[in-house]
Symmetry: C2
C-alpha cells in the first residue's frame, strides 16, 4: 500500500514495525560499504593475466619505441591506437597518459589556470570569476576539482536525455562560463546515455567564452553490463562538424576495465589543442608509463579484445544490479516513497527518496553499519536542493553482503519516509 | 704540447691535420647519440625480472591495502617504507606517487601557482614576480619548468661543494625569491656532491619569503658507479634542526634504478607540508599506480636490495665513464684546451671547452653525426655566459659506439680550439 495513502494509524503501525526492523538490523553489527564505484574482488581477479603477463625483451620495442626507456611524450603508439579505436577517434587525436583520467582532467584545468587554454585570452588565474556548468546529480570528484580551483559551480538538472540543454544554451552566453563537466555514457550516477540530439546540441553550442571547454569524461565508454556494446557519437567529430573543433577534451581509462588506479588513461582532442597541450606537457613529463601501455596492448590486442573482456565484468556486475533493483522493486515500489534509474551500464543506481530524506537515510544506514556515498555528494557544494538523491554503488561488496546492505537500505528508506510523513 | 703555447705555424699545421681528421670522421656517416641521461639497453635488461614478476592474488593485499584497487592516496605503505629507508627519512614523511619525480616537482610548482604552498600569503599566480635560484650548470628540465611558469631564473655558479652559498644567502633576502633547484648528490651535470657545510648552510637559510622552497631533487641518491654507496645528509632533518622544517620537498625515483619513466617516484616533506599537500592532491588523484609500487617492493624487499641492484648498473656504467675520461685524458689534456669533472656517480661528465667554443663543438659534432646535449642547455634560458659547458651523457650508447662518439668529440674540441686561437 502506498505510504502516502495510509491513515495516521496505519502509518504509526508501519513506523513501529519498521523501527523494530531497523533495530534488528543494527543489532547485526554489520560493516558494509556501498559508497564508491570500486570494482569488487571478482573483477580484479579477471585481469590477473595482465598483471602477470610475460614480456620478452624482444617485445618491448614497438613501432620503433622502446617502452622500457624514456621518450615519446604522447605515449606508446600502440596504446594510442587502442584508445583511438575504442573511442572512434583518430590516432593523432589521442594522448596516452598515466594511470588515471581524473588526474589528466585535473591537469587540464590546472593548465587553464596557470597558462590558459588554446583560445584563452589570459590564464584563468587572472580572471575575477570562472563559472563551470555541473550537470547534477553528477560525479563528486569533478565537483571537487572545480571547488579546489575556486570556480563558481552552476547546477544543471539532468534529464533522461542528458543535461537540460535549454538551460545550458542560455548559460553559455555568459562569457564567465568556461566549461561543462559531462559523463555522456552511463552518466554517474543516473546511468543515462546522452541522446544523439543532446550531443548535437552540445557540439553546436555558441559559448561567449572563446575557451569554453567540455570535459567529456567517457568513463563508462564500454561498460555495458546488460546487453551488447552500444555505439556512441564521437564528440570530437560532432564538435568539428559544428565549427567548434577545439571545444572539447575527451577522457577515458581502463581503471574499470583492468585495475582501478593502475590501468592506463588517455585524453583525445583536436590536433590544434594537441599541439598546444604538448608544448605545456613537455615541461611536466618526459613520458608516462609506457610499460603499462605495452602490457595493456599485448593483453587486449584491439578494441574487440576490450569489449570481449567487458563481457566478463558484465557477468559479475549484472547480478549485483539485479539484486539492487529486486530489493527496490519488491520492498519500496509498492510504498510509492522513492524512484530510481534502471541502467544498462556504468557503476551506479541513482535513487531518489522522498524530498528531505536523503541525509536521514544516509545517517540511518551509517548507524546500522552500511556506508553509502554521502547524501548530496552528487551535487555541487554537496548541496542537493531537494535532499533526495542517493547513489548506490553495488560493485564492491560481494553478492551476499550486497543483499544484506540492500535489506538495511530498504528499511532505512521506509523508516525515514514514515518519520517524515508522521512529522517525527 | 699545450695549444696555447704553439707558434702560429705549429697551430696552422695542427689545424690542418685536425680538419683532415674531422673530414674523415664526417665521411664515416655516423649516427650516435650522447644527448640524454638515458640508461642503455644493458641496463634495461637488468630489471626484466621486475617486469616479469609473478604476483599471486594472495600477495596484492599488503598492510591491509589492496594494490589492485582504488585508494590510499599516499601510496602503498610498503613502497613508502622502501623510499623512507633509501632516503633516511621517516615513513610518514613519504608520499609514493606515479612513475616520474619530474612530474611531482612540476605539480608542486603548479600548486604553488594555483593554490599557494603551506606558508604562502597568496598563490604565486597572484604575484607580480617570482624569482627562482638556479645553480648552473644544472638540469635543463628544472629550468624548463621555471620558464614554463614565467619565473625569473637567477643563475648561481656551482662550486666543487655545491651552489655558491655566499650568493644564495644574499639573494634569499629578496622576498620575491621563492625557491631553489638542487640536485645535491652527483649533481647534473657536474657530478658534485654538496658538502656537509653547504647542506647545513642551505638548511639554515633565512629567506625573506615565508614560502621559500627547496626543490631537493635527489635523482642520484644511490647512483654510485665507482665505489660503495656514499651516505648523505638528510635534508629534512637538517631543515628541521635549523627551524625550517617546511622549507624543503625532497624527490627521488627508480627511473634510473629500474625503468626510466616506468619506475616509481616519491616526494618527502615535513608532516605539516604533507597534511597541506594531501588536501590539494585529494582533488587530483585517488591513488597512483600501487601495482607498480607493489612490483618494486616485492622485487627489492628493502634498501639493501636497491643498493645491491645498483652494483649491476655500476658494472655497466663504469667502463663507459672510464672510456670518456680515457679519451679526454689522452687526447685533450695535453693540449690544455678543456677541463672536466671526474664523477663517481650520476649520469654525466661535465666538460668545459675554451670560452666561446661550446656551441661550435656542438655544431661540429652534429655535422659529424654525433648528437650532444645542446650547448647552453645546462643554464637558465639556455644561456651559458661563457659558452663553455658541454654535458657528456655516456650511458645510452653501447661501449663501441661511445668510443666512436668520443673520438669525434675530441676531434671537434681540438678543431674548435684551433679555429678560435687562429681567429678563423
Amino acid at each position: 500500500m502506498n505510504l502516502k495513502e495510509m491513515s495516521r494509524e496505519q502509518l504509526e503501525s508501519f513506523y513501529k514495525s519498521t523501527l523494530q526492523e531497523y533495530e534488528n538490523c543494527k543489532a547485526r553489527g554489520l560493516h558494509l560499504d556501498m559508497s564508491r564505484g570500486k570494482p569488487g574482488r571478482e573483477q580484479l581477479d579477471l585481469s590477473m593475466d595482465l598483471l602477470n603477463m610475460h614480456i620478452d625483451p624482444s617485445e618491448t620495442n614497438m613501432d620503433g619505441v622502446e617502452a622500457r626507456n624514456y621518450g615519446e611524450l604522447m605515449g606508446l603508439p600502440a596504446a594510442r591506437r587502442l584508445f583511438a579505436e575504442l573511442l572512434g577517434v583518430k590516432f593523432e587525436q589521442v594522448f596516452a597518459g598515466g594511470s588515471a583520467s581524473l588526474t589528466l582532467m585535473y591537469d587540464l584545468i590546472a593548465k587553464a589556470y596557470t597558462h590558459g587554454l588554446l583560445h584563452s585570452e589570459k590564464p584563468w588565474s587572472k580572471l575575477d570569476k570562472v563559472k563551470f556548468l555541473c550537470p547534477a546529480p553528477g560525479y563528486d570528484r569533478h565537483f571537487t576539482i572545480s571547488q579546489s580551483f575556486g570556480m563558481e559551480m552552476i547546477t544543471i538538472p539532468m534529464t533522461e536525455d542528458g543535461p537540460d540543454m535549454d538551460m545550458v544554451e542560455q548559460l553559455v552566453t555568459d562569457k564567465d562560463v568556461k566549461g561543462m563537466w559531462c559523463v555522456p555514457k552511463y552518466s554517474n550516477p543516473n546511468g543515462v546515455i546522452y541522446s544523439d540530439r543532446t550531443v548535437e546540441r552540445i557540439a553546436n553550442l555558441k559559448p561567449a567564452a572563446p575557451d569554453f571547454t567540455l570535459i567529456w569524461d567517457n568513463a563508462y565508454c564500454v561498460h555495458e553490463f546488460d546487453g551488447d556494446f552500444v555505439p556512441f557519437k564521437n564528440i570530437l567529430e560532432e564538435c568539428e562538424k559544428a565549427g567548434n573543433p577545439d571545444m572539447v577534451f575527451e577522457f577515458a581509462s581502463t581503471s574499470k576495465i583492468t585495475f582501478p588506479g593502475a590501468g592506463i588513461a588517455c585524453f583525445a582532442c583536436s590536433t590544434a589543442n594537441m599541439d598546444y597541450m604538448k608544448k605545456l606537457l613537455n615541461a611536466q613529463v618526459i613520458s608516462y608509463d609506457k610499460l603499462n601501455h605495452l602490457r595493456h596492448v599485448l593483453y587486449f590486442k584491439n578494441a574487440q579484445g576490450v569489449i570481449d573482456h567487458m563481457k566478463k565484468h558484465a557477468a559479475v556486475m549484472k547480478p549485483k544490479f539485479d539484486t539492487v533493483l529486486r530489493f527496490l522493486d519488491t520492498e519500496i515500489a509498492p510504498l510509492g516513497i522513492a524512484s530510481w534509474h534502471r541502467p544498462k551500464g556504468g557503476y551506479f543506481v541513482s535513487l531518489y527518496v522522498m524530498n528531505g530524506c536523503a541525509k536521514r537515510v544516509h545517517a540511518l544506514c551509517k548507524d546500522a553499519g552500511v556506508v553509502m556515498t554521502g547524501a548530496g555528494a552528487t551535487y555541487p557544494y554537496k548541496n542537493d536542493p531537494n535532499d533526495s538523491n542517493l547513489r548506490i554503488a553495488p560493485s564492491f561488496p560481494p553478492l551476499d553482503e550486497l543483499e544484506k546492505a540492500m535489506q538495511v537500505l530498504c528499511v532505512c528508506i521506509k523508516l525515514a519516509a514514515a518519520e517524515k510523513l508522521l512529522g517525527i
